[in-house]
Subunit: 135 residues, 2 copies
């Protein structure tokens, strides 16, 4: 999948759906396997209608689906929109890799510089001590 | 950066900021280099106040920053929140890799099966033709 193939309206609904911690937690739970609404509601201090509202947002965004056959209609994670969101973000990867790469090399430089200074001061200490001993 | 180190509230504002096509386009433009608000507004059929509103959302989400010194206050891309959003999504990577991997192997199987059938039917055609010629 390339950057150009991503549907912009789908990105709108995916990112909007992901902007809530409960909805992200629901997706995290569904990543462990499909489950029922009552099971999904358990870890949250929320009423089942409140959870159902979040589930509707996720369903509309195509991030979850459910089986019509079973009475409990277990919810299932749908990863395609997540993949698209990830592909969109990947376009910016070179920026954080560049900036963190730069930071790494800067820290490395400072470390070497620090060690060199330490080395010099130890040498000069030895010289001073040597001179002192010679006195 | 690990999954656990990500601030959940920051993910809320990052994903909310990314849920709009104009804001995503602004980030895409800033990926090419820092620029002024009037330059950012040019490709959009929008008033400058409307663009400024979007910029405020991006600023509050920490996705862009601006220089206080220059009169034009050029805007600059800040990638850290994008990286965090990407790290969050990476947790689901194994799912799309698995599902697409499965699809690939299924397609490969069908291809091989198809070729085998084709091969068999060509052989049987040859046999039939051979028989016909013998008659």
């Amino acid at each position: 999948m390339s950057y150009q193939q991503i549907d912009s309206r789908r990105l709108d609904t995916t990112f909007a759906a992901l902007s809530d911690p409960t909805r992200r937690a629901i997706l995290g739970r569904l990543a462990k396997g499909e489950t029922t609404v009552s099971e999904l509601a358990k870890p949250f201090k929320m009423s089942q209608p409140a959870i159902s509202k979040h589930l509707k947002v996720l369903e509309r965004a195509g991030l979850i689906s459910y089986s019509q056959i079973a009475q409990s209609r277990p919810r299932k994670l749908e990863v395609k929109p997540l993949k698209e969101a990830s592909v969109w973000l990947e376009e910016f990867r070179r920026f954080w890799e560049l900036s963190f790469g730069r930071l790494d090399s800067l820290l490395e430089e400072l470390k070497i510089e620090g060690e060199q200074k330490k080395g010099k001061s130890q040498k000069s200490n030895k010289t001073t001590k040597g001179k002192k001993n010679a006195k």
